[in-house]
Symmetry: C2
Subunit: 338 residues, 2 copies
């Protein structure tokens, strides 16, 4: 079983493995630098469906199918699936996965959902209660824009600090300790709210959550950035990444050389019009499940801290003048089991 | 650690305890038969706030504070809190709990959320990874009506099969094996969808999920209704309860005499205008945390199966002509640890 270290961190004993993964993207992702690493890229962002919401569900279907196929498993082999997305009532997941027949545990962590599912999977696998779990999440530019901002037809201008919601899904299949990547530790985040009210500046709203979780993990484990190859946040974008580096610097942690952000990896911000970078629950999930996990499996990356951040607002809370609470969960992946 | 029995059920080894609980309701709940068992009943359904959404968050604050007080604990004693609600992006929970500073794991299981949080808590406590967790959920008639149906000012008529969303919150604090109620087993549900499209008949949409989970639990454990004092669903209401009894009957399980439903317990359907009964994530949570858990602690009930059902639709999915998927998770509470 996982055991607690300090106040927020848990070390796994059996180091559960990520067995396989699947990633799906669309046109903008196909034009980005990570395109060669995706399993499926469909230039048609409707994915053959009649609504954007159904397209998002279709992405989840394809991502989990791909991950299962690569793991050599079928749905009945899974003990449970953790899933969630940004749509109201998480219908991207519930409609995408309803035909699987797998015990379903729905999550809402906004863009931190992938990490939240990995954290919970690590606990359930490490204790031996479960043998195989899956984690999946998604986002779709078009379903997110109309739900959170404006109808696409309105053609609203985006501010420089705004991020581009990825049309993407990432799925991971986890199991007992057999092969890298291994989950060595997890850290569960608290809700942080520094009073940021600009819903077009999510990076600023979420940086304090990433900061708290990362700082606590270093304190709990007595490690520092030098112990890791990569500190990967998702998705702070340009603005939030700078803020995180600055906040960590003040605490004496120089993460600059090790820090990267999924929102900055998925797109080429010089060539693609994504303003402050990518975002959306599918952004860090697809970056993890296309480029990062294979790099750990193949040993190019040995120790990676994956910190997914979620902005826990709603359009209603913004209209009511509220600030934007956020949360960040951390997963320590390693190419070695101990 | 919990170990698997059959395909869907997990037995706990250490039988985690529910240490304390808190329940909050409003005017309609104060007029119902369970009023004497609630911790807090506020006739003012605004709870002193300016919006219904903030009122719902305030209920969560009060419910968790009451549960912590009764447990003799404070927020920093909790290893994590599982929370969710019906509002878009679960803001009832995120805004209600943001000041606690407790590691936060957001759930979306619609009205099954309370059971989902109890299931996950049971796993994390039984393995020894965590020592104390909390589970909380809520619903508010006014925030739900305007989000899912019509603005209250519209004064829409309700159909006979529709249920009344409870203005209520229930919170439970769980810990290691010390006193009853103990969690002896859990069963994680799959998404079921029999094609029901009437969003004013949630009972019919959710009954198949309750049926599958209950049937599987009986099969996995080799038990039957005679082994339990109470089979408590939440919230199938009148229509769904009849359907569940009928579906079980066809499988040879006669649950009629043991079956009750939180949606039928919270209100007096002869005197209160709630049509097919109560519903909402706060309905089964508050019934559990007001009337049921004390009955188990005091030994009036010895073995209770709590099966919370969630309808995994959204207003958008309904508008797009979709049917209503649902899920049900089961928790076996006992007055004895083994």
């Amino acid at each position: 079983m996982a055991h607690k270290l300090g106040k927020y961190t848990y070390l796994t004993d059996a180091a559960p493995s990520v067995l396989a993964w699947g990633s799906v993207g669309s046109k903008k992702e196909a034009q980005g630098p990570l395109a060669p690493y995706f399993d499926l890229l469909n230039e048609d962002s409707t994915f053959g469906e009649q609504t954007w919401e159904k397209a998002e569900s279709e992405m989840q279907k394809e991502a989990i199918a791909k991950a299962l196929e690569k793991a050599g498993l079928s749905a009945p082999d899974l003990d449970c699936i953790f899933a969630g997305d940004l749509l109201n009532q998480c219908t991207g997941s519930t409609f995408g996965l309803r035909e699987l027949g797998v015990p379903f545990l729905g999550l809402y962590g906004a863009c931190s959902t992938m990490a939240e599912g990995l954290v919970l999977s690590a606990f359930l696998l490490d204790s031996g209660a479960m043998q195989k779990t899956a984690v999946i999440t998604s986002s779709h530019f078009c379903s997110a824009e109309r739900q959170y901002r404006f109808p696409l037809e309105y053609g609203g201008q985006r501010t420089p600090t705004s991020q581009w919601t990825a049309t993407a899904s990432g799925a991971a299949i986890l199991g007992q300790n057999v092969s890298p990547p291994y989950i060595r530790a997890v850290c569960v985040g608290t809700i942080e709210d520094k009073g940021i009210k600009d819903q077009n500046n999510m990076g600023a709203a979420m940086a304090p959550a990433a900061f708290e979780t990362l700082r606590r993990f270093f304190e709990d484990t007595g490690t520092n950035p030098d112990n890791y190859d990569l500190i990967l946040t998702g998705d702070l974008g340009k603005v939030g990444s700078r803020l995180l580096d600055d906040l960590m610097q003040r605490e004496g942690y120089h993460i600059g050389g090790k820090h990267s952000d999924c929102g900055l990896l998925l797109y080429d911000s010089n060539k693609q019009d994504v303003h402050a970078g990518g975002s959306g629950a599918g952004c860090c999930a697809s970056v993890l499940c296309s480029y990062i996990l294979p790099s750990i499996r193949e040993g190019r990356l040995k120790n990676v801290l994956f910190i997914a951040t979620g902005a826990l607002l709603s359009p209603t809370s913004v209209q009511q003048g509220e600030s934007i609470p956020s949360v960040a969960h951390l997963v320590h992946f390693s190419s070695l089991p101990n």
